[in-house]
């Protein structure tokens, strides 16, 4: 791991001159509104009832938003719409000043890779790749104009912030514990310094102490990003700037079972 030693030195030098590699942001973060949703509806099939109907919802830049609601209330659907894995039935979504819902699937993939970090409920690491390869894949596919030095520096900083040892980089993802997978998934989501971080109930498998510890870590590493965090556990609301119940923003008051066989982008 020769390159790691080089970048540790680089990282320490960076610290000496006051650079904070973990919280560097792109110019897009200057946008006043991180999320703007207008007249959004979504149905899984054309004939079914909409599971979401949001007349208007806005999230300011740098806000950490907690979104709660009972199972099946549509909160994960909203996150999938925000991350571009689902397409609205009607209405529009603007992210970071970009009309996200009108982008082509390919443009949406690219926008997501470059500006949005997603931590999935199942973490979704690629099992046969090492931790390092999983994280570097996110950098590679995002095609951001960044140097290897900066990426490696950021990776080391993320590992330190997430309290992961450097030795974990060579381990295969499927050999990690749930807690390690969770933190690696966060590292992958944050490696490209996204302006928007979407987190979907990653703490569901943790006890209270572990959950609080995880939240402290997450808030630290994502303090310069806008974050939308979804959970049904209201006990976590205290960690966030703003709390929404899905019923507060959606015009639908009923809890609906979402149909399986979802239409996808």
């Amino acid at each position: 791991m020769g390159w790691q030693r080089v970048y540790i030195v680089y990282y320490k030098l960076g610290n000496l001159v006051g650079a904070d590699v973990l919280h560097q942001k792109d110019s897009k973060s200057n946008s006043a509104l991180a999320i703007s949703v207008d007249a959004l509806t979504f149905s899984y099939t054309p004939d079914s009832q909409p599971v979401l109907n949001i007349p208007q919802w806005k999230v300011s830049d740098n806000q950490h938003v907690f979104l709660s609601g009972p199972s099946g209330s549509g909160k994960s659907t909203l996150l999938n719409l925000l991350s571009g894995t689902l397409t609205p039935t009607s209405g529009s979504i603007s992210l970071l000043g970009e009309s996200f819902s009108s982008l082509s699937p390919r443009q949406r993939d690219k926008f997501r890779a470059q500006h949005i970090g997603v931590v999935f409920q199942q973490f979704n690491l690629i099992p046969y790749l090492s931790v390092e390869q999983n994280i570097h894949a996110a950098v590679y596919f995002a095609q951001k104009q960044t140097t290897n030095a900066v990426t490696s520096q950021r990776l080391l900083a993320l590992l330190e912030a997430l309290r992961l040892p450097q030795s974990i980089l060579k381990q295969k993802a499927d050999a990690l514990s749930i807690g390690q997978q969770q933190r690696v998934a966060i590292a992958r989501a944050l490696i490209n310094s996204p302006e928007l971080l979407i987190v979907d109930e990653p703490t569901s498998a943790l006890d209270t102490a572990a959950r609080d510890s995880f939240m402290a870590l997450l808030k630290n590493v994502a303090k310069d990003s806008t974050m939308v965090f979804v959970s049904h556990d209201m006990g976590m609301a205290s960690h966030f700037d703003t709390t929404y119940r899905i019923d507060d923003i959606s015009a639908l008051n009923t809890t609906q079972e979402q149909a399986s066989g979802a239409s996808s982008c």
């Binding site: 994960s76 999938n80 991350s83 894995t85 689902l86 390919r106 993939d109 690219k110 997501r112 890779a113 470059q114 997603v118 999935f120 409920q121 199942q122 979704n124 690491l125 690629i126 099992p127 046969y128 790749l129 390869q133 570097h136 894949a137 996110a138 590679y140 596919f141 995002a142 095609q143 992958r188 399986s260 066989g261 979802a262 239409s263 996808s264 982008c265």
Partner: protein, 443 residues
Amino acid sequence: MLGTIALESLKRRRSTALLTLISITISITLLLSVDIIRTQVKSSFTRTVSGVDLIVGAPSGQLNLLLSSVFNIGTPTKGIDWQSVAALKRNRQVDWIIPLSLGDTHRGFRVVGTTNDFFEHFMYGDKQRLVFSEGQAFNRSLATVIGADIAEDLGYHVGDSIIISHGLGNVSFNNHDAHPFVISGVLQKTGTPVDKAVYVTLEGLEDAHSPNQSHRSTPTLSKPADAHEHEHEHEHEHEHEHEHDNAKPEAEVYNNNAFSPEQVSVVMVGLKNRVTALQLQYRINQNKSTPLMAILPGMALAELWQIMGNVEALLLGLSALIVACALIGLSTMLLASMRERYQEIAVLRSIGAGPGTLLLLIQLEAMLIALFSTALSIGLVVVIMALAKPWLSSEYGIFLSGTLLGKSSIIIIALMLLATYVVSLFPAITAYRRGLHSELSGR
């Protein structure tokens, strides 16, 4: 990065990937081997003989005559009476003749009785004449000239003595021990059956076969070339000069054309004007008083190649089918793996991999298997051909020479890689079309 992902993905499914690799490797090896044999046989065919206008032998069959005279495979059913040969030589259209007497062997290599005219007139390849790498043509009755492969395989040099055996088997119990032939020359390599033949004088061959084991070498030393009228006069005159034969060289004075054997197996004929070949062939074949058969080597080669060509086309077709099956197997493997990979593909999409990238990734895996299989196949083919080379040349007269992987092999490899690209398109497209959301949320 894509290469790493593709390689790690294959490692993850190593057992199915390995089986696919083996099946593709075997099929490509088969296809390349068939192609190499095909091109080498064709090359051997075209190189074997040139400049010979007619081959004349006892009536048997065109192919039999061609195989025995040119490829040293099999023997003509009957011999030709020397009077007929002499008459042929007297024909005004004939420029030269090369009589060939077949039927003996030396340690598994064919022995061909002939005259020095063989070394003067016989040509191969693009009208190339035979060249001596060592020594010279027959310089005595019990002289022999050997092909390059025999010299190399058996370590023979000019001056060494060899014993020939009666019959065509590798092991013979009827050796002509009393008539050792002394090597007077070694021919340069030609890549034709000449390399694997032992050429002896007709006189020496007849001596070796005569019942009283006598021979008649020296009387021919000063005889005129046109000796067909003196055929049997000298037969018993010098029965006791055998020792002389082995003891003293007679390089400058030996005239093997003076000797007239009772019969020979085949005669190669060179004409003064090639245009008359068909006419002479017709006359020979229609001559009822002397039943002989004349063939045009070019036409006989074409006929033989047509037979071989059909077999070759069939083999090539079968091999191509086997490759197609292996490639379908590759596609099946990729499709089967897609089921377990939809989630990881969705993850890759979620982190920014575009449709083109995903197509490339799946195809890269297929290409990695195909390329590795191709490399293995080429290695295998080289080993197989090196091992089969002596067997192919001794059993079938196929001489492997030059570059093994010719233009056609390169075309086959390119087509195979193209086919891999095409068959891997389907699983790749299927992969991308799967929904992103349903896989990521585990629906």
